[in-house]
């Protein structure tokens, strides 16, 4: 780690040596490359000045809760982006696993219970269901990874088809046992407590337990990305698959495993989403991958491939959430929010390309 103070001194010393034209370029580069951070800062300052309750502990608790909910999917999808791919099936996979988790963990005495003869909801059963849905996600991820790696198909094609297939399975599952497409509700108290139970209070807002789980997940992913040979292979394949192959990296298994790991993350995201949304409908998880991809790109996981960091992903999710929390507080219409989201993604991609082109 370099000392940030020293770095600033270094930059200012370099700056003094520049001539007028380079100084101008220094500023335009600085402003444009950090455009999204500046945008966020403007929104935060403006929102804080017109809505004083934006800067309370309670609203901060709300923010980290949202970040913890959106983070797992972004952590998963980032691996696919590092491999110069993408994953369009993320949202639907989490929708499917949310539905599975909800059905398995309904109240024992709930009248509309889908499967009557399930065991009583205990901690062991909850953990088993969690492992189960993570496994379901991982299997779909494995299918994605297999087709991408085996036939060198573009992930766009493969994951688009698994997205639709998964949606079909979701609809089919919702129609089972005379459920006829009703949302799954009546989640058991134990499940709600395990995921959304109070960890601690900030201000007067409870921070749920899944914030802690997200922290653990970040630690796990950081370890996988930085400390294992699998992580290093992932970056090698992402920056140049041919070169990686020549230097002895198993490109096939790396690709398969990255997608499987991503699938497992979506599975976990679904497990949390079940509690977060209270009742799971067929539309749960729709378009969730867009937010995750946007967060990754904002956080510097480049579509060029082979670059990205866990801290960047966290930052990306934070920035996206701060912007949306601020805009919702200001009362910006949800239809405008979609346009803004699209503009942010386009802007983030342009920034991504710009940084790549300008880099010496």
């Amino acid at each position: 780690m370099t000392n940030p103070l020293k770095k600033i001194k270094q930059v200012s010393a370099d700056y003094k040596l520049l001539d007028a034209r380079d100084k101008k370029r220094f500023w335009t580069d600085g402003i444009l490359n950090n455009a999204l951070y500046i945008l966020m800062a403007i929104f935060v300052i403006y929102t804080a000045s017109v809505r004083p309750n934006f800067l309370t502990l309670g609203s901060f608790a709300n923010l980290i809760t949202q970040v913890a909910a959106y983070l797992p999917m972004a952590l998963g999808i980032a691996g696919c982006i590092v491999l110069t791919g993408t994953d369009l099936s993320a949202g639907r996979i989490s929708g499917l696993t949310a539905a599975f988790a909800a059905v398995m963990l309904q109240k024992t005495d709930f009248a509309n219970k889908m499967f009557q003869s399930l065991p009583k909801v205990t901690l062991g059963w909850i953990l088993l269901v969690m492992l189960g849905v993570v496994l379901v996600g991982a299997i779909i991820g494995l299918v994605n990874g297999y087709f991408v790696a085996k036939f060198s198909l573009h992930p766009f094609i493969v994951t688009l088809s698994t997205q639709l297939i998964t949606y079909g399975i979701i609809l089919w599952f919702f129609g089972l046992n005379g459920n006829n497409g009703q949302p799954f509700s009546g989640l058991s108290k134990e499940y709600k407590e395990f995921v959304g139970g109070e960890l601690f209070r900030l201000g007067n807002v409870a921070v749920p337990k899944y914030v802690l789980y997200a922290v653990l997940l970040v630690a796990l992913m950081w370890f996988i990305w930085n400390k294992t040979s699998f992580g290093k292979n992932m970056f090698a394949v992402g920056s140049n698959a041919e070169a990686a192959k020549v230097s002895g990296v198993n490109v096939f298994w790396t690709t398969v495993l990255v997608h499987t790991l991503a699938g497992a993350m979506y599975g976990y995201a679904g497990f949390v989403e079940g509690v977060r949304s209270g009742s799971v409908a067929a539309t749960t998880g729709l378009n969730a991958e867009c937010d995750a991809i946007a967060a990754c790109v904002i956080g510097g996981v480049s579509f060029v491939g082979g670059t990205g960091s866990i801290s960047g992903i966290i930052l990306g999710v934070f920035i996206l959430r701060i912007i949306f929390v601020a805009l919702t507080m200001l009362g910006v219409d949800s239809s405008s929010l979609y346009i803004i989201k699209g503009a942010i993604i386009l802007c983030a991609c342009a920034l991504d390309m710009r940084k790549y082109l300008v880099k010496k």
């Binding site: 335009t28 444009l32 455009a35 945008l39 403007i42 929104f43 809505r51 110069t84 791919g85 993408t86 992402g238 920056s239 140049n240 480049s302 579509f303 060029v304 491939g305 082979g306 805009l327 919702t328 507080m329 200001l330 009362g331 910006v332 219409d333 405008s336 346009i339 803004i340 503009a343 942010i344 386009l346 802007c347 342009a350 920034l351 390309m353 710009r354 790549y356 082109l357 300008v358 880099k359």
Partner: protein
Amino acid sequence: MEQNIKESQTPEKQPREFRGLYKHVKISVKTLDIIIVTCLVVIVLLVALDLRNPGFTITFESKGGTDVASQNQMYGELLEVPEDPTREGYEFTGWYLDSACEELWEEDEDKIQSDITLYAGWEKK
């Protein structure tokens, strides 16, 4: 000889080639700058445009009582409780979410999350 000179010049002039998902993208830094600035302007304009809209509208349907002015509130705010309307021969029982007056709007608890219409509840004196 000429070939050689050309080749040695090209790496200087040509921008870096993209890899990955941007593989075939041909775009200059200037165009990218325009895109970035346009996106930012669009975002800020949209927000500014939306802020002219002061929030969600709460309409009051007094159902035969005196009229109550509608108000605008932001997401997550409490209702600014208006003065109770009056009606001949009836007593006001509160504001309800449905016209059948079954779901009471809890003035201290319920927060505004969308445009709503509230209906006055009346009880015969």
